[in-house]
């Protein structure tokens, strides 16, 4: 095969931003952010084991404005990483590789993760009074 016929990887400097590469880097970013979430989950579990006072401090922080904002971020990242992860598992077995289909499932992933996040928080706020 002649040298020029080789497939080239995209030249990042002139690569136009589109759904595929945006969602790809978002998968990474959400994954890294969720790793920090795993740390907080561990801290939360340890605080439960440490007794009421330690737990109350952690829970107060999580329910406060900054904690709640982080939780909102983690729920969206969780649903997004989950949906896009399933998309990746599909690709692993050869499903949905066609350009148009990959684009459609990409947008679907965004829509489903936004809907799930909103649904989660509607239920969370709905149970406020109970």
């Amino acid at each position: 095969m002649a040298r020029a016929d080789r497939p080239l990887s995209p030249h990042v400097g002139i690569y136009r931003w589109q759904v595929a590469n945006t969602l790809s880097i978002l998968h990474r970013a959400t994954g890294v952010f969720l790793s920090i979430g795993a740390l907080v989950l561990a801290g939360w579990l340890i605080s439960v084991a440490s007794g009421y006072q330690a737990y109350a401090r952690v829970n107060e922080w999580l329910m406060g404005p900054f904690g709640a904002l982080l939780l909102l971020g983690w729920t969206f990242c969780f649903f997004y990483h989950l949906c896009n992860g399933v998309r990746h598992l599909g690709w692993d077995i050869g499903l949905g590789f066609e350009k148009e289909r990959a684009r459609r499932t990409g947008w679907l992933t965004v829509a489903v993760s936004v809907v799930l996040t909103l649904g989660f928080w509607v239920v969370a706020f709905g149970s406020q009074g109970s």
């Binding site: 890294v32 340890i46 084991a49 737990y55 829970n59 989950l82 992860g85 598992l89």
Partner: protein
């Protein structure tokens, strides 16, 4: 013609001779995390904004404790594998190795601490 078996040819590939081990482990943990993650996220909704006694009782339930242990194992293994790839891509030189080692130690520490906490709450020790 090669006398090597197909298995011999594919085993231990890659620069670290681990073959498809990393790739496969990441997929296995991903599949496990679909039900475990959804279960946890929707269970949290039932915890009445983290009321202490309710949370303790919820974790202490044997079925929940087992699922939580599985979640922690799969989550931290998956997180460790994922961060490893990110570090390998963006961190270079001696810092790379140091970062990789720190991240792996941190994951083991976090996993062991969480598992310990779940067991303590389950057996009713602590306060």
């Amino acid at each position: 013609m090669s006398l090597q078996s197909p298995l011999r040819r594919v085993m231990g590939l890659g620069s670290a001779k681990e073959g498809a081990g990393h790739w496969w482990a990441q997929r296995l943990t991903a599949i496990a995390l679909v039900p475990l993650g959804l279960w946890f996220v929707f269970s949290v909704l039932g915890l009445d904004h983290g009321q202490y006694e309710l949370v303790r009782a919820w974790i202490a339930d044997p079925a929940h404790a087992i699922l939580l242990l599985l979640l922690i194992l799969a989550l931290l293994y998956h997180s460790c594998l994922g961060l490893q790839v990110v570090i390998e891509d963006y961190v270079h030189g001696a810092t790379k190795v140091a970062t990789l080692i720190s991240v792996q130690f941190a994951h083991v520490l976090v996993a062991v601490s969480s598992i310990y906490a779940i067991i303590v709450v389950s057996v009713g020790a602590g306060t």
